[in-house]
Symmetry: C2
Subunit: 376 residues, 2 copies
Amino acid sequence: MFEVLHTEGRARLGRFTTVHGMIQTPVFMNVGTSAAIKGGVSSMDLKEVGAQVELSNTYHLHVRPGDDVIYDMGGLHRFMNWDRPILTDSGGFQVFSLAQLRKITEEGVQFSSHVDGRKIFMGPEESMRIQSNLASTIAMAFDECVSIPSTYEYTKASCERTYRWLVRCKEEMKRLNSLPETINPHQMLFGINQGAIFDDLRLSHMEQIAALDLDGYAIGGLAVGETHEEMYHILDLTDLVAPRNKPRYLMGVGTPANIIEAVFRGIDFFDCVMPSRNARHGHLCTHQGVINLNNQKYERDSAPIEQGCGCPACRNYSRAYIRHLLRAKEMLGMRLAVLHNLYFYNHLMEEIRTAIAQDRFEQYRDENAAVMARRI
Amino acid sequence: MFEVLHTEGRARLGRFTTVHGMIQTPVFMNVGTSAAIKGGVSSMDLKEVGAQVELSNTYHLHVRPGDDVIYDMGGLHRFMNWDRPILTDSGGFQVFSLAQLRKITEEGVQFSSHVDGRKIFMGPEESMRIQSNLASTIAMAFDECVSIPSTYEYTKASCERTYRWLVRCKEEMKRLNSLPETINPHQMLFGINQGAIFDDLRLSHMEQIAALDLDGYAIGGLAVGETHEEMYHILDLTDLVAPRNKPRYLMGVGTPANIIEAVFRGIDFFDCVMPSRNARHGHLCTHQGVINLNNQKYERDSAPIEQGCGCPACRNYSRAYIRHLLRAKEMLGMRLAVLHNLYFYNHLMEEIRTAIAQDRFEQYRDENAAVMARRI
């Protein structure tokens, strides 16, 4: 159940109740592709960096170790020892971006595994069954993430098929949740809005899927090549027709500035690999902008990554030490950098929530969005 | 200062007092080559696995980030945020095994860095200066680690030079410890016994270096190709002439069984990359033998690596999960595996100390040495 506790403009402070506990929104979901955050970050560490939700990838887990293995181990929560909410994506995005030799039909997608080349078929029902085996808190609908640019005709036909797939996802999820052997019979389903950057398709598709009364709605197909302005424009549009009483999830976005701008446009859920990926390359978030720890000027810098930061890296280690570890390709360097950036993102959301609660989010946005985007 | 608190046969329970705190012996030193344990293990983690001593490599730190950088950062303890004892090796072993185009003279060794090919000269004085910059608790003498097999003539000449180098190390260390700018003026020096597998050379060299009244004595040049029996024989020999009132350190050894056998022969200090290296490949220590987590039979095994183990991996995660992470090449898999093996080694030493204190070490050896060496 989703409750909007407070609004400031279109920004929403909310609370999403799940069988695995309550999620305070706006929230950032921490991406652990193969049931682990890249950089050696454990589920224990996730708690230490203030994570509320972990996100795992259905495609990756289906391919390895297999969702049947995870089902036998009692589901993803027990497998990775994480008792808070987990969102699983549908596998659709990876099937369309990672897998080889894919062939799309009305039924679904035939493709070859990127690990061993094995032929796999995935459609709406298969995606739901895999996610039911994983027993995540929130399952995502199986959709086609249309690449940008695509023609209007292709995008329109794809949106229609994605809608038909969504109807099938909903039915299959209902069936699975009623089976006695299902680990999480309260699994929720989020639909995904597509339509590339075509205003009328985005609007009509959102209206269509809104009518299905799902647990939440994602805006998909963004952050794949369009400009920030085009993305914000889509958010302005979909805000008009997305149900107000359901959480809204902007998939795969983004920088702290992107997140602040999207919260400003009514978004509640986020996920992105950027904080962990950038961290592994030495690019670290601070409230003054992004620092590149590879820079020579940090060689003898005894300060933490950010003064006053409460993350495990900043509480214990200097820029000079972490820089050395990154240059020596010591895993510990990546680990500390990732812990910092994830802490930054999870606490950014806390700052945003507090600002909305205190009716000063617009001020927070003015003071931070541009500053955090700087490279310093 | 070293005190032998209790003995059982030749096995010694001891206490070594240093400026960075007390070391209970027999002790295992945890190898953090470039000021970090491989596998993403931090100095905080080291405390959690019961580590007493961290060991860093002089050669690696000299090459990157540079001992001048670490000196400027206040020494290795502050750099890596570890307040317990640190032992630095002399760089000799790496110069002879890793570096390219090396040329040995009476003065020292000229070689090219394995990182950037830069020409570097290291002799006894240089090694002491670098280790003084690192400000470790215990510095190791600069020696030549003679490869096995080597001729008697070469080994004899090398031992004589290593002795002359040791005299220079002692003098230089004394000078450095008296300088006002030295970070750790209480830095200790251990000499290293060499002689390959020639009984008379081992004995005469140990007698020579014992006369220098150093803080401790290492047995070097073992675990480089000789059999276990040859190694144990050397330990039986050197035990006859090594000073009883000084700690004895068997360098680079070894398996749990090797350690138990060496303690049985009077050794107090150990270090080895084996527990962390094996862990990264999925080979994990238990009291019943070594398990290979890559084995298919662990795919759905919900048990911890070892039942009853108190390490962070066993307290929180299953064999099935860690196996999956290792196969998916997720850093977290290596990290958890390394944490387990280091915990095992540090607690093995605790078990050994308790057994000596209770006069049942020989029983402990009978019950464990062979069992722990099994592959199960």
